[in-house]
Every structure is written in C-alpha cells, then in structure tokens.
C-alpha cells in the first residue's frame, strides 16, 4: 500500500518554543491513525500545518506525492485534506441541510454558486451522509439549535461531503456523553472504508474503541513512539510522559 501522507523533518516554533519537531510521520491509504499526547504536545499544531492554518518553519509534507507546505487553506482543501476542528465550527444560522449542501464537492466559484440548481445526485449524497451521522431528522433545523454532539457530527458530515481523502479530526468526542462518544467511534470506524483519517483524542476509552490501526504518541513536539494501542499503553516512556517518572516506576514495579 502506498502512503497518502508523508512528513519529514517538520519543524515549527512559536516565540522560541519548539512546538513541533517531527522527524518522520506517514500514514497509509485508508488508515485510521490516532494521535495522543499530553497538553501542548503539538498535536493540534500538526493538524494546523497540514491544513494550511499555520506555516511550518522547515521540513516537508507530501500529500499523495505533492508538497502541501506553503499552500493556502483553500488549495490544500481542494487537494483533498479536510479538517474538523476541536471547537465545532458549523454555519449556525443555516439549516443542517444547507450546511451539508455548501460542503458538497462541486465547483465552488462565484458563477457556479449564483446559478446553482440542486440535482438528485447531490440530494441523495446529502441524505446518505446525513443518515450516516444520524442527523436525518434534523435537516430543516438551524445548525445553531443542534446539541454540542450533533454539531460535532455535522462538522464530520461536512468534511465527508467535501470528499476529503484525508480527514483530520481534532478531538471529536470532546464534551460528548458516553453514548454519543461511542456512536462517534462507530462513525469514524465506518468512515475508514473510504477515507484516510487522523484523529486526535484524549479520552482513552474512545481511543481504545477506534485504535484499530496504529497509535502515535506526541510529546513536546516530538514523536515518542508508534504502535498498536496495547503496545503504546504499556510503553514506559508514554506512561512517564503522562504521569511523571515516579508514577511510571510504581506502575512497572
């Protein structure tokens, strides 16, 4: 299998603090990668660089063989990288349906938008995705009236409809109930069939549910280790970085 994203020597510093110093990182097509790490480890910064929100100081990032560093957000999004933010970002004064319609992959120029007419192909696609994320009965409601969890799902739906080849999902389960978290996990596992996905998450139960492939651990901007969920969970270095040296010793004794 070919890798869809290859990153090497990626560095970015904010005011003297090395936020990210990633020697090498790559994910395969249709892989679901979970990134964990303590606060300030550079997880979100990594995603910010991949989607063009933040510029890297140096390094290389190839998406399907093409460099994405230095490109604008729109260009990167057009290439097929979709981002779901930690804080749900949806169009609150539009209906759920319109939110999804705007996201659909189609020409997005001004003239096209002016003379756009809905067709059954797009209609079907929207309903299919709405069903997938469980928002079918909310289509005519304003996105602003959705619950927090539903907004998260709507944002995932937006990224899916954009037809992103690589989805960057930042803390999808934050602020969700256990039941909603579980459903989100199911949803992400389902999306894996058609998309490559990187998920950042803190909730370890949730990580356990979705970590069917590799888990990467970032600590202070560096990649600490990579491996299956169990490998990572029992890794001494990981425990140390989360709980401190003393606790790690106690646990391993």
């Amino acid at each position: 299998m070919s890798s869809i994203l290859e990153v090497s020597q990626l560095k970015v510093a904010f005011g003297g603090v090395q936020a990210l110093d990633l020697e090498s990182f790559s994910i395969q097509k249709n892989e679901l990668r979970v990134i964990i790490g303590p606060n300030g480890a550079g997880k979100s910064t990594f995603m910010d660089i991949l989607c063009g929100k933040t510029q890297a100081d140096s390094g290389e990032a190839l998406f399907r063989g093409e460099s994405i560093l230095g490109l604008k957000e729109v260009d990167i999004a057009e290439m097929g990288i979709g981002r779901k933010f930690q804080k749900p970002s949806v169009f609150t004064s539009l209906t759920v349906y319109d939110n999804m319609l705007l996201a659909c992959r189609m020409p997005k120029g001004i003239w096209h938008s002016l003379f756009f007419k809905i067709n059954s192909e797009i209609e079907d696609k929207i309903h299919e995705v709405a069903k997938k994320v469980g928002l079918e009965s909310e289509m005519t409601h304003l996105a602003g009236s959705l619950s927090h969890g539903q907004k998260q799902w709507l944002e995932i739906a937006i990224v899916v409809l954009q037809d992103a080849k690589l989805m960057l999902i930042d803390e999808p389960a934050a602020g969700m109930s256990d039941k909603e978290t579980y459903r989100t996990g199911e949803l992400i596992l389902n999306l894996m069939q058609h998309h490559s996905i990187i998920v950042i998450e803190h909730d370890m139960h949730f990580v356990e549910q979705i970590a069917v492939d590799k888990v990467s651990v970032l600590v202070r901007g560096k990649l600490l280790t990579e491996g299956s969920f169990n490998d990572v969970r029992n890794d001494k270095g990981v425990i140390e970085s989360y709980l401190g040296t003393g606790a790690a010793l106690q646990l391993t004794e």
């Binding site: 970002s89 169009f91 004064s93 539009l94 120029g109 001004i110 938008s113 756009f116 954009q162």
Partner: protein, 359 residues
Amino acid sequence: MQIKAVFKNYEYLLFLGVFLILLPIGYALDLVSVNTVSLWGRYFCFAIAAISVDILWGYTGVLCMCQAFFFCLGGYGIAMHMLLADKGTGVYGAVIPDFMVWNQVDTLPLFWEPFYSFPLALLTTLLVPLIFAMLFGYFIFRSRLKGVYFAIITQALALAMWLLFLRNETLLGGTNGLTDFKTLLGFDLTTSTTKLSLYLLSCMVLVLVYWGTKKLVNSKFGKVLVAIRDSESRVRYATYRVQNYKLAVFVLAAVIAAIGGMLYVPQTGIITPGRMEVKSSIEMIVWVALGGRGNLKGAVLGTLFVNFLYSIFTSLLPGSWLYVLGILFVVTVLYLDHGLIGLPAQIKSIISNKRTSKL
C-alpha cells in the same frame, strides 16, 4: 392556493398599494403635496443604499462604513451630467458649470468629458464605483482584513474621500458641492410631473433592486455569504475562495449604493461632500440595524421608518430628533433581536410562551 400565496405576501401588496396607488392618487386629489411625494422618492433612494449595507453587513458580516461614499459617487456622476447637459443656462451663461467660473477654471477638465452624453454618463457613473470598489476591495480582502479593522479602514476611506471632495482643486464644487440643476433628459426638474416620475422611477428601481438581491441571497451564493458571516474559516476549508465572494458582494453593494445616489440627486437638487461624511454611512447602518439586519425587508422598512420619523420630528419638535433616534437605537439593541421586522414574530413567541406556561 392563490389567495393563500397573496396573503403570505401581504407586505409586498401593502407596500405597492400604498406607494404606487394610494400616494399618487392622494397627490392627484391634492391631498398630498408634491414635495411629500418627492420626499418619499428620496427615502426610496436611501432604502436602495440600505439594501447594499444589508447584503454586506447583514448577510456577509462585513461592516462597511463607506457606503455613503459610493452613494455619493452615483450622485456626483448624475449631477455632473445634469450640469453639462444644461450648459449655458447658468448664471454666467458659460459652457462650463458656474462653480468653475468662480474658481477661475476656463476649460472643462478632462474627467468631466464623459458626462456630456446621458448613456455615457450613466455608464461612467456605474463604472467608477465598480472599479474603485474592485481595486480597494481586492487589496483589503486579500490581506484578510475583517471585522473591526475593516470597519475602521473603510471609515478612514470615507473620511479621506470627504476631505478630497471638499477641496476646490478636485474640481467637483468643493464644500458647496454641485447644485442648480435644471433638467434631466430634457425634463424640467421643477415641474410636478417630473417629480412624480422620479418618485415612481425610484420606487420601481427599489422594487427591482429588492427583487434582484432577494434572488441573490436565496441562491447558493447567498448561503455562502451567510456561511462566511458564521464561520469564515470553515467556508475556506470547504474550498470556497472567501476573498472572491467578499469582493463580489462589496463591488455589487458599491454599485447598488451608487444607483441609489443617482436617483437621489435629481430629486434633492444638490449634492455636497456632507452626504459622504462618515456620519452618513453610520446612519445607513442604523437604518438597517433598526429594521433588522440580515433581512432585506427589514433594511427597507428601517430606512423608510427612520426617515419618516425624522421628517416628522424635525418639523414638530426640532432638536429632539437625536434623542428619539438614540432611544430607538438603544431599544432595538436591547430588546429587538431581529429589529422592527422581527417584532411581530417576537410578540407572537412571547404570547405563546405565556400560554404554554399557563397550561
């Protein structure tokens, strides 16, 4: 079904009934003076400008503080044409407008030339704001200036343009502006028939602009505008080139405002730099805020309502107007989430809430 549709659109029928039928009939029966008719004609021009503020600020979330400047670009354009078309009828009987004679200018400046013929003047008057907005907007939106910073820079533009137009060297009449128009397309501006025609024309252009912008905001383009207001970055990540959309709506708003100005000046008979002061642009924003931003009906209603009150209060209780406007504005900001246009729905929901709480 038909009747239902008609009732649903009763606001439109009310508007057209009052302004296209009742007011002209009132005038024909001598119940309403031609000056009152003409006054409403001018309000319609303001309403056209208010629509331009609404598509920018209400829908796209771009608070632009120089719409009055674009309004004046339209006004100055038509004023220049009228002065040139009336050449030789001024106090000095000169080929050039009177104010140039006072300023010891003997030949017509080159940039006045296109305003001789009406079609060319019309075209130039629309093209100038279009090109200006395009250049200015291109650089502003490219550097992603937004929110308060955009408001400040457009305010600075309005101030700079006001200072520029105040100068005699600009050759646009300086502080006194342009005035003493006699005819438009050969029609005598002082006759009641011309005044009534201009009123009707303004009303029809307002209806047309309303209809066009309504179509626009209901299209997918309009939804993108609202999406930009809600979450600009999300729109960008959904592969829309936000700055192009903002630029398009900025240019369109500039042209619409200029159309309002073009209709306004023949009806008032004067255009001065005072009209493009920052204050005038803010007034337009107040009309939209009072009527209900993000709602085209609200923009029109707010403009007509505020200007109507203005003419009542300034004639009955001169000096009280600013207090009235201030109170209205505070009440709107505090209690009316969706402006005047949202008031009926707000009352309805309060009543139904009370009912359910009683049950």
